[in-house]
Amino acid sequence: MSVGTALVLVSHSAQLAAGLVEVAAQMAPDVDIRAAGGTDDGRVGTSFDLVEQAVTGALSAGADAVVVLTDLGSATLTAESVLEMLEDERVRLVDAPFVEATVAAAVAAQGGGDFDAVVAAAGTAVTGFAGSGEAGGATAGGPAADDGGARTRSLTLVNPLGLHARPAATVARTAAGFDAGVTINGVDAASVLALMSLGLTGGAEIEVSATGPQAEEALAAVVAEIESGFGET
């Protein structure tokens, strides 16, 4: 089965593009992810024709939309030229860190995110990953944490779009900013990908828990963030 939004990965290197397809497909097995790496004659560089074929191929295979991601320089310029030529609003380019943006976009597409959600996921990948990186192994939620005085709050996601990439990144950054282990519905709240993989949409009931020295403060901050609706309402 293939899900709505497809991805086209444009790299100077065929191997790099193919490798990234492999990495992203692990987290998004149902997403149509196509590699357009190297030149048509197998050198390092980018190829207008390969990019165009990948994009039109994804569309004719039934994708509703295509998000194009690029590594650097001419990959971006070539992809932009293809988009200008196709003049198709179902195709968009996201200029963001290649690996992170691709994985974030793939996860969003796998979760059924629509075109805007996938584009947003790719575009915010930088901040998101910086946040989750800092949190490192600070995952909370083991049984031990509970007797350590876990604080828990239940609430409703008020923002209509739910916990898509941008709000997920905001929450992750906040959660990572405290000396506390925070979870939302059992997953590490400091990880954007973990949050996005919950696929929480507007109106969803969620449970936020925090443990550790700053559990109280972390819980309050994350809850306030979620209750604010992330500026969407």
């Binding site: 030149t39 048509d40 050198r43 390092v44 560089g45 980018t46 190829s47 207008f48 024709d49 650097l72 320089g73 001419s74 310029l77 070539t78 932009e80 030229s81 200008e84």
Partner: protein, 210 residues
């Protein structure tokens, strides 16, 4: 004072292909110094492909020729110069909407080409890119057109201005493209794309007999 039509365009393409072949090593050296060392190869491959398509395509207007160059470079160059020149020649082709270009027509084509490069690459004058050659070239052609000169004179002025513009990139620090990763170390070398732009405009002027 003859205007420039399909014959000029065809001899320009052949001359351009010969020039990038002749300067292949030189452009490679320039790109080795501040890039990834492929610009000479990229341009050579692109224009060789254009030559290969020229006969079969049977272009009948200047616009046809520029469009063929644009699409061929776009799909065969492989580096940044592909989409940049591709966009430039595509916009130039749209601006060349008459059978023969007068000085104002030449100026319009160059202005459209420059606009395409800037739209695609977002570089400004001083960023050490081909924009540093194209900007003075388009302005010089416009100046000739405004003062009643011929198409050939407009191209000669453009070629000379592009040459000076390319030379002006020597001391600059690159702010766009691959060379920008080098920062200060990019100073003291000519930008390869500005150099190839000057070469292409020089052939355009020579093909016009200027």
């Amino acid at each position: 004072m003859a205007d420039l039509g399909i014959d000029w365009a065809l001899s320009w393409v052949r001359a351009a292909a010969a020039t990038v072949t002749e300067h292949r090593e030189h452009l490679l050296d320039l790109d080795r110094a501040i890039g990834d060392g492929d610009h000479g190869e990229n341009m050579y491959r692109g224009f060789t492909a254009v030559l290969g398509k020229l006969d079969a395509a049977e272009p009948s207007t200047v616009g046809d020729v520029l469009k063929l160059v644009a699409t061929t470079l776009m799909s065969t160059v492989g580096g940044a110069a592909g989409p940049l020149y591709g966009t430039a020649f595509l916009r130039g082709a749209k601006a060349a909407d008459t059978d023969a270009l007068d000085a104002a027509g030449v100026a319009a084509v160059l202005a459209a080409g420059l606009e395409g490069i800037v739209a695609r690459g977002k570089a400004e004058v001083g960023d050490k890119t081909m924009v540093d050659a194209w900007t003075p070239a388009a302005a010089a052609a416009q100046h000739v057109a405004d003062s009643g000169g011929s198409a050939a004179e407009a191209l000669r002025a453009a070629a000379d201005a592009a040459r000076a513009g390319a030379e002006s990139t020597d001391p600059l620090v690159a702010r766009k493209g691959r060379a920008s990763y080098l920062g200060e170390r990019s100073a003291g070398h000519r930008d390869p794309g500005a150099e190839s732009s000057a070469l292409l405009l020089e052939t355009a002027a020579s093909a016009a007999g200027a």
